[in-house]
Symmetry: C2
Subunit: 206 residues, 2 copies
């Protein structure tokens, strides 16, 4: 029997308001075979949250050790708590031959790219700038000032799209999911992924 082909790490990212979370949630329905990355955090578990499902809960000391030993693919701090993506869970999933998807902010995605360049990086785009603005406004929680600030951050983040492999427009959630699924199929068909099979054939024939 041949050894199992390794899985692919898919990183889904894009500016705030573009619909990363919605797309990723819908994708769970369309692509149940995909594994969803579990983050580590130093915040205390909320009622009902399960270790290894919602988060890997870590002390600040444990978290720091993971960062210091390069065991975090990316990490950031929000309102006094640290969040990050542990490399171990990703590696174990890939070694089982499963694909894993990581939904993450643009800055975090670039950190992952440095540590895991063989990942497939997908940038999610709004259909238009107007649409992005109305999605941010639609949340109803933002002041005029914070809306403009978010739009300005988004513009800076669009420039970082150059570090990504793919860019897909989130015009309709189903379409965006279908495009992501096509990208995953295509990446499994990359010549390099199949080259080992051929090398085996060459040995058989000799």
């Amino acid at each position: 029997m041949t050894s199992k082909e390794r899985g692919i790490l898919i990183v889904l990212s894009g500016p705030s308001g573009v619909g990363k979370g919605t797309v990723c949630k819908a994708l769970r329905g369309y692509a149940p075979e995909l594994v969803y990355s579990v983050s580590a955090t130093t915040r205390t578990p909320r009622p009902g949250e399960i270790e290894g499902v919602n988060y890997f809960f870590k002390t600040r000391e444990q978290f720091k050790r993971l960062v210091d030993t390069d065991q975090m693919l990316e990490y950031a701090e929000y309102v006094g708590n640290r969040y990050g993506t542990p490399r171990q869970f990703v590696e174990e999933t890939l070694n089982e031959g499963k694909d894993i998807i990581l939904e993450i902010e643009v800055q975090g995605a670039l950190m992952v790219k440095q540590r895991f360049p063989e990942g497939v990086f997908i940038f999610l785009l709004p259909p238009s700038l107007d649409e992005l603005e109305s999605r941010i406004v639609g949340r109803g929680t933002e002041t005029e000032e914070s809306i403009q600030s978010r739009m300005s951050v988004a513009m800076d983040e669009f420039r970082l799209m150059d570090y990504y492999d793919y860019a897909i427009v989130n015009d309709q959630v189903e379409k965006a999911c279908s495009r992501i699924q096509s990208i995953i199929v295509a990446e499994h068909c990359r010549k390099d992924k199949v080259m080992n099979k051929i090398k085996q054939w060459m040995v058989e024939v000799k």
Copy 2:
């Protein structure tokens, strides 16, 4: 209105016996929006063959001129007749924003790659070497010697897979078609294809 996105040239290739023709025929049903490249030939039209549909019929003089002026993406000679892929038809189709597929032998595909490196090159593989051999035997037209010769050519051609972008296994025709369709969707989502849109946004905002 923004200018239409340019189409993609897909080159489907692989050793003799792997099922290129069968897959390409089935794909016409699954992907009617794809344009199929029309070859030029110096052979005389058979009854019912239509210029520009079955072939572009050329005199040897016309064909030679197309080759000499680099208007042929690839060409070869079979039993006294010349066959080739005229660049003009491909370019016109791409400029209309349509994708075009070219089904072709491995050597021809490498000629196309030299002249049209931005094409997407897909190598079709048999599920196994045994299966390839039984497909060649199954034609019932080959001697033992010619079967071995075809297998040996196939082995040489597998080594050329390295010049391709993708490799797909033709285990089932529908699956092979579906993989090709995923590759086409993914290629349209490549970051470079979407970059122009972003550049336009940057201008809008300034």
